[in-house]
Symmetry: D2
Subunit: 335 residues, 4 copies
Amino acid sequence: MTLGIAVIGTGRMGADHVRRIDSVIGGARVAAVADLDLERAGAAAAGIEGCGVHTDPAAAMAAPGVDAVLIASSGPAHEAALLEAFARGLPVLCEKPLTPDPAGTLRVMEAERRLGRRLVTVGFMRRYDAEYQRLRLTLDQGELGRPLMLHCRHRNAKSPSFFTTEMLIRDSVVHEADATRWLLGQEITAVQVLRPRSTSYAPQGLGDPQLVLFETSGGVVVDVEIFVNCGFGYEVRCEAVCERGTASIGESGGLVTRAAGRAAHGIPQDFTIRFAGAYDREVQAWVDATRRGCVEGASTWDGYAAALVCEAGVRAQESGGRIEVELPERPSLYA
Amino acid sequence: MTLGIAVIGTGRMGADHVRRIDSVIGGARVAAVADLDLERAGAAAAGIEGCGVHTDPAAAMAAPGVDAVLIASSGPAHEAALLEAFARGLPVLCEKPLTPDPAGTLRVMEAERRLGRRLVTVGFMRRYDAEYQRLRLTLDQGELGRPLMLHCRHRNAKSPSFFTTEMLIRDSVVHEADATRWLLGQEITAVQVLRPRSTSYAPQGLGDPQLVLFETSGGVVVDVEIFVNCGFGYEVRCEAVCERGTASIGESGGLVTRAAGRAAHGIPQDFTIRFAGAYDREVQAWVDATRRGCVEGASTWDGYAAALVCEAGVRAQESGGRIEVELPERPSLYA
Amino acid sequence: MTLGIAVIGTGRMGADHVRRIDSVIGGARVAAVADLDLERAGAAAAGIEGCGVHTDPAAAMAAPGVDAVLIASSGPAHEAALLEAFARGLPVLCEKPLTPDPAGTLRVMEAERRLGRRLVTVGFMRRYDAEYQRLRLTLDQGELGRPLMLHCRHRNAKSPSFFTTEMLIRDSVVHEADATRWLLGQEITAVQVLRPRSTSYAPQGLGDPQLVLFETSGGVVVDVEIFVNCGFGYEVRCEAVCERGTASIGESGGLVTRAAGRAAHGIPQDFTIRFAGAYDREVQAWVDATRRGCVEGASTWDGYAAALVCEAGVRAQESGGRIEVELPERPSLYA
Amino acid sequence: MTLGIAVIGTGRMGADHVRRIDSVIGGARVAAVADLDLERAGAAAAGIEGCGVHTDPAAAMAAPGVDAVLIASSGPAHEAALLEAFARGLPVLCEKPLTPDPAGTLRVMEAERRLGRRLVTVGFMRRYDAEYQRLRLTLDQGELGRPLMLHCRHRNAKSPSFFTTEMLIRDSVVHEADATRWLLGQEITAVQVLRPRSTSYAPQGLGDPQLVLFETSGGVVVDVEIFVNCGFGYEVRCEAVCERGTASIGESGGLVTRAAGRAAHGIPQDFTIRFAGAYDREVQAWVDATRRGCVEGASTWDGYAAALVCEAGVRAQESGGRIEVELPERPSLYA
């Protein structure tokens, strides 16, 4: 069964989710979209077979073939959309924050409890990042011992014009709040914020960077540098300091452990790991080209040239000398 | 339009491609599978709606809804399957090598030329690896100047029992042969092989490692270490030495350039780059769970806990002091 | 003029300084040593021409040929030794801490002010570490903009048995206190300490690790992880977060900057930089061997073998082929 | 006994050795210098007590107090100087190459054999580089198994104007020739050179870069990239590929091993290792300043400020709160 999804909100995030469901991931289709801006909704749905276009989220959820809902509208619109999905018994993936304030989230939670079953998945996407998953696995395996501290860095090149000091916490550090809870399986029990002098590149009135400190129910201390105008790029790092070593992510593309006198990163044991993404992209690229009526990528000529090189290579292995490759002229079909 | 694909061969690679088309990538479905071993074909197709199961590749290609063919059968079976696909005018993605020897590839190429249009894409998957693509982009942008040398390492932890000295070239170094041609846009004109004393971990009769040397039509010298019993893991590295600097891939998850007195790697400028994979996996995981009738991932409770932490964080920003987080008991629904 | 030094205290640090002055650095000699344990003092001075051995620091300072004093005795003995050196007008290098508490240091400072000129250099050796020096130079050059935060890690594999929670600050974090002041040219204005649950590898009663937070007169926030039973090794790291980028030391042997979309480390421009230490060690090793009456290192035979290889190499350049090296039998003198 | 050294040749290398013996290393003094250019010799000897200045190497060697000879004159002058030292029975450290061609080296070797004892140490300084020493130790310890290949990179930013294609081998690759022999304890038995198209940044007539291939008596294959106009800096790298893993030096300041599924670098276990150089530089800097009549470095004020911060830190540990540091005004003596 292919899952039919109603996407509520087709702004930047929502339109990206429509594209993702339609042409990146498997097993699902976009059955309907809704946006207050009908034109924007239509643009997102363009070219998707059987995808209804609506301004009313409820209408999109009621459209034929809708099995589940993805909410990517603005924060204040989430609560109504969630309750609507609950009324229809539809599973929901809701972008964070669930609602703009804890009171709204509490109402949603109580409504879900009245249903007696979970319908909501919150879009804390770091839980799906390959490095975060490896970090959690490393902590769970226990070889490094119990975690004692987390050192986190959360850096954006530049904040959007509407960013406020509060949003440093609510929009940015909220990811570290969830990641801390998810990595450690502990609740955060106290928060403190140290505020250095601001960078001269921050807009007037924005206190940036800040050092946010969490204490957890298990006695872990977490420091988070949040710096949304760091200038040089987007960087999310986390080092877990444990009793027998540390594990870091986010520095140059992989998890590094420090233990027993060595800093190390793993080497994959197999091409299926190293090139997993390459295989996915290869087949996706071929499918995409074929749907457009094109043939792209390595051609029969490329296969032939490689075969001739290998032939020469095998003769070179045998002879110990230098073997020339005799390549005919390239046919015009493969120019 | 969803592309209907016939997958020929359902061994390790073929079965993996079936899984990929069915539940990882978008825009395609497995319409039919063929394998000499009918049971293996059936196992690969299990649970895929409307997927025919065949022993004869031609029958699979003739099945209703087949728009394209993916060939993952054993090498000697490729030529017949390719010609069959040509007869039906179906686009083909064919695993490398196209055929076991250059003579077969030449016959396939001539058949395709008689058709007068390209149908074949060869599965040289390194062309789709994110690092190789970044390396080629770096070379094409020209900031490092013209390439002069490539230093390649191709290491497997352990070779399969049936591996021969020839296969070092035909099965392994063939990837460097294609990558050299694709990265440089040049043909390989000569090959030489240096053979050090073999590792004592290689099976009797296998000369492993070897140093394979290519010369190209543009005067580039390429050295390839092929070592299929290196013991410690799977590693594919490439350093392109250019007139004004070098660019390396495969060492710790990213492209490193050396130029103008600095060794550097890029920092992504945006979360959509850093967490692209996380978003894809998140939505895929939610779709997969929903199709199974499950609700997994971050719950409303997680959203609520994060909201309370943020609330305390904003108060801590304002007060400068330590703010405790008042979390109610976790409802049993979210246990 | 060769500087005559009286070394006060010949325990671990003092004996090491005696060795350093005698046979590692240039321009100085050990003229006298003093230690309460006369035997230990004698052992340190063994084999050093004209080096007097004393139990009384004042007697060592009064010995003929003493131009300067190095104090490496235990902390409580520093004050008297410093005042003694002042009385004689001798320059002093004193191991940190100057005295065990601020009151003693104040008395020393007032005595030095009465002299009206500086005689004391305090042994904060991080100021002489090549990486710290590069970090400070990077900050001073100003390309990264004004510093906003320092993230410091200070890890020891295991604390000595007598270590106390206070010593975490007085013996360990004191280095970060000085490094902060020296790197930034700012005073520390407030301190706070967060204490996570202790590692189970810490001795009973020792709160380890801790997170120490400094605020400075220039509005910089500094966090210091001090962890003296981290188990895996000795590690001192520092990342300076500035307005336009960051600079880190201590991770794998060099300074890394993050700025303008790149993480980078410098590449030396010259062999005199890359191999400066090698040249020093080479000549030192030759001097040491010659003083012992030995000839070690690369021999005439090694020079001859290299010359024959080069000869073959030049012929190989010219011929394009493989040239064998004709090496005669190795003479027994060079066996 | 302080070793009296006659330095023959006071060009760039020789003058640097004079400085090194005089003020960097311990246990030796420059007793005499010789250079055809008397003014240059005098400049090198300026300020060194009792250092004679000569134009004739033999006169320098005959000067009072000369115990050993360091030859840093031009290559063609080495042979006569070596024979002169032999005549006087003086140990010699001779810069590479011993002589410009193998015939001269052979004559020197025969003269030394007639003496019946070794006097010569050749200045192959890589044997004293900390990373090369760690690499050799790693190979000797045998955990990685027998070496099978070495991959070497030898890059200079820019070649001097007088550099020739032959000098690529004789002046540059000669270091890899010695390093190969020293690391492996094997002789080089054959050489081959591959010459890619030259960089457009090489002077007319210079074939740069080149790939030099060595075979050794133990069956090891060595490839050396020599590139003396790489533009971006000076870089010397070496990866030893062994039966159970690899060990690399020269990439970012330390030895990296690949073995058993991990790429790792060691973490020092002790501050005496991490900060060994800092201690040496600290004491040398203090000696140098004191000889100049200066007092530099961390002052009593710095010691006092650090003590006050520690005092506040200990109170912060106890109280759990934020403690301000009460620093008095800085006395003018320490301004």
